[in-house]
Symmetry: C2
Subunit: 457 residues, 2 copies
Amino acid sequence: MTIQTAIAEVSTVLGERLSRSKGDLDHHGGSETYFAHTPPDAVAYPESTEEVQKILRACAAHGCPVIPWGTGTSLEGHALAFRGGISLDLSRMNRVLRVDAEDMVCRVQPGVTREALNTELRATGLFFPIDPGANASLGGMAATRASGTTAVRYGTMRDNVLGLEVVLADGRAIRTGTAARKSSAGYDMTALFVGSEGTLGVMTELTLRLQGQPEAISSAICAFDSVSDAVATVIAAIQMGLPMARIELVDAATARGFNLYSGAGLAEAPHLLLEFHGSETGVAEEARRFGELAQDLGAKGFDWAEKTEDRSRLWKMRHEATYAIKALRPGCDILVTDICVPISRLAEAIDETTADIAASPLEGPILGHVGDGNFHALLLIEPGNTAELDAAKALSDRMVERALGLGGTATGEHGVGVGKLGFMEREHGAAWGVMGEIKRALDPQNILNPGKLVALN
Amino acid sequence: MTIQTAIAEVSTVLGERLSRSKGDLDHHGGSETYFAHTPPDAVAYPESTEEVQKILRACAAHGCPVIPWGTGTSLEGHALAFRGGISLDLSRMNRVLRVDAEDMVCRVQPGVTREALNTELRATGLFFPIDPGANASLGGMAATRASGTTAVRYGTMRDNVLGLEVVLADGRAIRTGTAARKSSAGYDMTALFVGSEGTLGVMTELTLRLQGQPEAISSAICAFDSVSDAVATVIAAIQMGLPMARIELVDAATARGFNLYSGAGLAEAPHLLLEFHGSETGVAEEARRFGELAQDLGAKGFDWAEKTEDRSRLWKMRHEATYAIKALRPGCDILVTDICVPISRLAEAIDETTADIAASPLEGPILGHVGDGNFHALLLIEPGNTAELDAAKALSDRMVERALGLGGTATGEHGVGVGKLGFMEREHGAAWGVMGEIKRALDPQNILNPGKLVALN
């Protein structure tokens, strides 16, 4: 069997770091959402670029699928081994290789998590801003073009990965980008691999842009009577040019979840959570202007968190939203959707989605990174209840159709994986075929994360 | 002859808008720098995407080169017809198709110039920030991944093109990107075409991100004893997190050119030109902090331009730098180089370049977008003097080698064209080969701007 031959060959390279233990296979066959358990045939734990090259050469020689694995926090089944093969677990490639404080960049291995990087950066006065919630690996975040709460200010992984080392399907290692801030020297190979979900190559090193820790930070939470009022406030703030570092919407159901899960004591109403980064006077002025604007548009019960511990509590609550929402239906499974629309269509998209969920048998709180036009519904499902799972999938599909109809995208930050594959042709038209042509040029055997993002065979 | 057959076929599509007049061929065979005059066999003036598709189908059928043309302001020979064929002049596709003020985006045809767009936007309170100096077409700016004075704040064309319509070598039209602010739905096809210099497809429509006109703007110019002091000021300001909208360095020779050309009355010393955008209080505070910092590091003769007309005069002077520098040697030709290095290596790169030029027989003022680590030398050459041209090319080559040695790039914003082609393998290593594989997949006959950016045949 070709996969078995490849595994035998990889095992001569890695020894005991090529695992076929039940625990390893089980762990790498799971995901954080509703997908069926799909274990790989083996799990490889490389410790260097050279080892990744050897693994890919062996897999290319025998046509064995290779599925890169970061921390397994993906939400669209990206890291599942639907066609068997080797799960390439990069967690042992977890060194911060270099921090250049003067250039505000760092080089890391793909298995470094965002929290580990920020812990390492603490003494430098710098931080890496992208925050998808989960403590994902930076390689995984780059592979899915992740973003999260701070993208409204600092951009997504697209904007914060300056360069990569990538091992291609045939085992060649290439470097993309430079340490300069910009370049016009040829095709943007970094951008091609960021968001390619392991289908074009395996990232073995990342050069990341860092930010200076702001001199002052001010956070707040405030309530609104309706989601529409909250969204109108966000649009007005963006148009005024207020440089929000975070601007998050949670709906009334999510607020109820926060109260259940962490005793937040919030009104059961839609809320905005926001943050400004800057100088003392700049942040104070921006906070004042936002407060005036929001109150004009119906905001109530403004609660400003000036102290570090109050801010930490606020964002810890937001990061735990998934658990808080699960507390609304103890023991439930969850289907998390992710769409992004032009800001001008956001209120419409959220209103229609809310009505659609209300008309369904399911509970499905909504929350999102509304400064980007990006929001999620978290649909609560009884484990094993296929009728509920089908209803959730149908709701999610209608959300995506709505997003595409409004000029948006099937996924703002979670990626395609297998969960959104069915919408790619509708979203991209003939351009999806061109993605396939690029995939074929770089991975003619389709061994890299086959069956995800593009449909080849 | 295959080119002639293609031209005959295109002429049935365009009628008189397929020109073979001497004036048209001459104009499209020229460039703004030292490259030899290289006219195409014909010039096509399409007026729609459908016409571009028909032209490309005819050219694909007969293997005829197609060289997209915007305004001809490229500096690396991008639009020259070294292999003959059809110059595809997009200047008649010059409509602003839509402005979405609420989403702060617009859709334009590729022949719209940046000045024309900003004139059209004036009443909306929005503007398009990218400013490479020349009044280039937006299609040309996207094709070369242009940037300029404001990239330090607003990014480059990479960051400001949200989507494209592109006609491929075989005549298929595809759309990339959406009107949403971000997406994780598949390969970043927009980024692949931005900076591809017409070698992968012809852009027929662009969706651009717009910015709100700042409430307050403050500009200044100040002098330093040395380039090193000026660069140290820039690095310190970036590390303090001061959000400069522009931060430009000109050396003493350029200041002398400004005095000669426009009677600027500057000290013959290196200068920084800078600008802040924001709220009244924000800009005032940032200007104050920059002023204190710069004076600590040796800045003299601060001249703040608060009034619109004073600011316009300052940036008009900067934009006319090429003419001002030419005034140092009336009647000269010019070779303009463009490199970009990590900020931490910028002083070193400029110092060594200055010394290298001083040791040469040529005069070559230096100026640049130092907030990005990007600078240019403008080498003055007697027309027809091959010894001087060779000396200028050798200086430019050493600048690029220096940039690559310091971890930078052969071009920060002008692009590869033919001028920087010889450095691509050194800069990218095996990744340059991968660029060739992508080119081959999308344009197997190599009809799109052949001989530029990648080397295929």
